[in-house]
């Protein structure tokens, strides 16, 4: 009898623990405890494009600020960043560790087109949310998956808008293009080509450069020789600085519009203000000089946690993804924190104005409906700083 009782009790205890276990599994996703949320990010902390690590620093500063102010609904955020040097092979192993070993709840504000392209299929196959990745490569933005929340408009869309800019602002019908020989530059090129006919614009020279190239003189000489009336530069800050130096050297006064990821004070710091004077840049965010409260808040947070940093638009990329993630977790309240609920909550964000982005509305569906930012804006480098500029169609 006693043995039977014991057996019944063991079965009952096992059943209860199994039920309990099931209940816990249904409550929170991996990476979530009562006191902590583990999220992860891959960043080019070192290497040739390490200036983009500002994105990681922006997100990290935000989460440090959140943690110092009590966390989100009582939970602190652990923001784990790993250096992938912008090398897709390293990104692959980092993301595998994030998901399989560390059990990160989501990947927030990571950086890079090529790195993200290398891991996005794996991330969505594991149903891990990818929020606010710094990439404009088509694959990462058009993927038919509900787990991806792209940060900014595709390079394709941007490329198309820059042709319109060259036509309507510069009055150019012949343009030359300088582009980075990687997915970001090639996507810009595809966007540019897609609207040439519509805008009555032709390309006189399309010159690629390698990110590690020592100089871009032959490309610039060829573009000048081609008789271009304007240049579209799909250039990161360091190559952009080399282009503007070379352009100044050749005394070439051609008007230029640069893609948004080259809009950085670094360009003028490296090339000198004179070489960059009069260059237009597309952009996503308001400048740090903007009096808008969220921008000023971001500025002071960055100053507190990364005092050595000069505030830059790239920091704001990190802030944007981190703030949207924080808002969604906040809205999830005391309920279970699951990846599925996170996606649903993000899709419920409508005309939210609490972040560095003026207003955020996220649609329902897959990545193409999930953009955090939908439109490009423009600035002009004038008198040593970036000033707002509205092309005719935005007035």
């Amino acid at each position: 009898m006693r043995t039977m009782m014991k057996t019944v009790m063991v079965i009952a205890a096992t059943a209860v623990s199994m039920l309990g276990g099931t209940a816990i599994a249904a409550t929170d996703s991996p990476g979530i405890t009562d006191k902590n949320i583990l999220i992860c990010s891959y960043q080019p902390m070192t290497g040739k494009v390490s200036s983009y690590f500002r994105m990681g620093k922006g997100a990290d500063a935000w989460f440090k600020y959140i943690n110092d102010n009590g966390g989100i609904n009582g939970r602190k955020v652990t923001y784990r960043m790993v250096d992938d040097k912008y090398e897709p092979a390293r990104t692959k192993s980092a993301v595998k560790r994030f998901i399989e070993r560390d059990e990160c709840f989501a990947i927030v504000s990571p950086l890079g087109s090529a790195p993200t392209s290398a891991v996005i299929d794996y991330i969505v196959s594991k149903k891990v949310p990818l929020i606010g990745a710094g990439t404009g490569a088509a694959k990462n933005l058009t993927i038919e998956s509900p787990w991806v929340f792209p940060l900014y408009p595709s390079y394709f869309t941007e490329g198309a808008q820059l042709v319109r800019f060259a036509k309507e602002v510069f009055g150019a019908s012949k343009v030359a293009v300088l582009y980075q020989n990687d997915p970001s530059g090639k996507t810009h090129m595809a966007g540019i080509k897609s609207v040439l006919e519509k805008n009555g614009v032709s390309i006189t020279a399309a010159e690629g450069y390698e990110p590690k190239e020592v100089d871009v003189s032959s490309q610039v000489i060829k573009m000048k020789q081609s008789g271009a009336e304007a240049v579209i530069c799909s250039c990161a800050p360091e190559p952009a600085a080399k282009f503007y130096t070379e352009r100044a050297k050749l005394g070439w006064k051609v008007p230029v519009v640069n893609v948004f990821f080259g809009k950085s004070p670094k360009v003028a710091e490296l090339a000198g203000n004179d070489a960059v004077e009069g260059i237009y840049f597309s952009t996503i965010f308001r400048d740090f000089d903007s009096p808008a409260a969220p921008i000023q808040q971001a500025k002071s947070i960055l100053k507190k946690y990364y005092p050595e940093e000069t505030p830059d638009a790239i920091h704001l990329w990190g802030f944007a993804g981190a703030q949207v993630f924080t808002e969604a977790i906040k809205r999830m309240g005391d309920g279970p924190i699951t990846r599925e609920r996170l996606v649903k909550t993000l899709e419920g964000i409508d005309n939210w104005t609490g972040s560095v982005v003026p207003s955020i509305t996220i649609g329902e569906g897959n990545a193409p409906e999930h953009f955090i930012i939908k439109d490009m804006s423009f600035v002009l480098f004038k008198g040593g700083k970036f000033v707002d500029f509205s092309p005719p169609w935005m007035k």
């Binding site: 590690k212 032959s218 000489i221 060829k222 005394g251 004179d274």
Partner: protein, 289 residues
């Protein structure tokens, strides 16, 4: 366009030339392919920023201090790292320089950060017109310095006791030793001269390609190719190789396709080695068994 492409190519080639000279010097006297040669220059560039910006020294004082520092760095690397393994095979020596490369990259990044930095001296941006082709003041300085250092090295190797001793060590270290030449000292001097050249390279190249721990990676690869192109034993060959690579890259980028630009140097070296394994100017040297 042709004139401009050639002149810009010479300007770029001159960036490779000095590093190529140093690669050749170290190789022919020590059998070491010094992968850290570019990083000596990188250290010089960071020190240049420090002396100019933090300590407020003048440009010429900075040049002097940087060159002195990198010369000492070259000597220190020889004394602390290379000398204890001097009798090892070439692979061990090469691997040791990879170690130095990573140590210097890591330490500089740790001290000054990995962000690309502007070098506080900017040359006058007004270009100089040379027969219709334009060249910047910075590049002109570079070519000038490369020529001047070439002349100094020529004088050093042909008219000083140490220089002649160095050549003797290059030709045959054992016989040089038997003749009473202090081979160890000459090897240390070689590394010192490599550091000396690197100091100039760092200061001259920094305003053009900007300063970061990885700034010299691409330059070193091209300089190494130039050195092999010239025959690995010939300083003259290295300089000609560097200039040819700079010009060929620009011509390929200008007339063929910009995507071919970076691979031009490697295509050139493969073709040359297929027909002339000893390089452009080199002669068949002794082979190790």
């Amino acid at each position: 366009m042709l004139g401009q492409l050639i002149l810009s190519g010479i300007a770029t080639g001159s960036l490779y030339a000095l590093t190529a000279i140093a690669v050749v010097l170290v190789f022919r006297n020590t059998r070491t392919i010094n992968l850290a040669q570019g990083d000596f220059a990188m250290v010089g560039a960071f020190l240049g920023i420090y002396f100019l910006k933090q300590l407020g020294f003048s440009y010429y004082t900075t040049v002097l201090l940087v060159v002195a520092s990198t010369t000492l760095l070259g000597v220190a690397v020889e004394w602390l790292i290379m000398r204890p393994i001097a009798k090892s095979d070439w692979l061990t020596l090469f691997t040791a320089t990879i170690g130095v490369f990573y140590i210097l990259t890591g330490v500089m990044g740790w001290i000054w950060g990995r962000d690309t930095k502007a070098f506080p001296v900017n040359f006058d941006p007004t270009p100089i017109d040379l027969g219709g082709a334009l060249i910047s003041m910075g590049h002109l300085y570079n070519i000038g310095w490369a020529l001047a250092i070439g002349v100094v090295l020529y004088w050093f190797f042909n008219h000083t006791k140490q220089g002649i001793a160095m050549r003797a060590v290059t030709d045959d270290p054992e016989i040089a030793h038997l003749m009473g030449i202090p081979v160890k000292f000459i090897v240390m001097l070689t590394w010192g001269v490599a550091g000396f050249i690197a100091g100039f390279v760092g200061i001259l190249i920094a305003p053009i390609i900007y300063v970061s721990p990885e700034m010299m990676d691409e330059v070193l690869v091209k300089a190494y190719v130039a050195a092999v192109f010239g025959g690995l034993y010939s300083i003259r060959g290295a300089v000609i190789g560097a200039l040819m690579i700079g010009v060929a890259e620009n011509l390929a980028g200008g007339y063929l396709d910009s995507s071919l630009k970076t691979s031009t140097a490697f295509i050139m070296i493969v073709v040359l080695l297929a027909f002339r394994p000893q390089g452009l100017i080199g002669v068949q040297k002794r082979r190790e068994i």
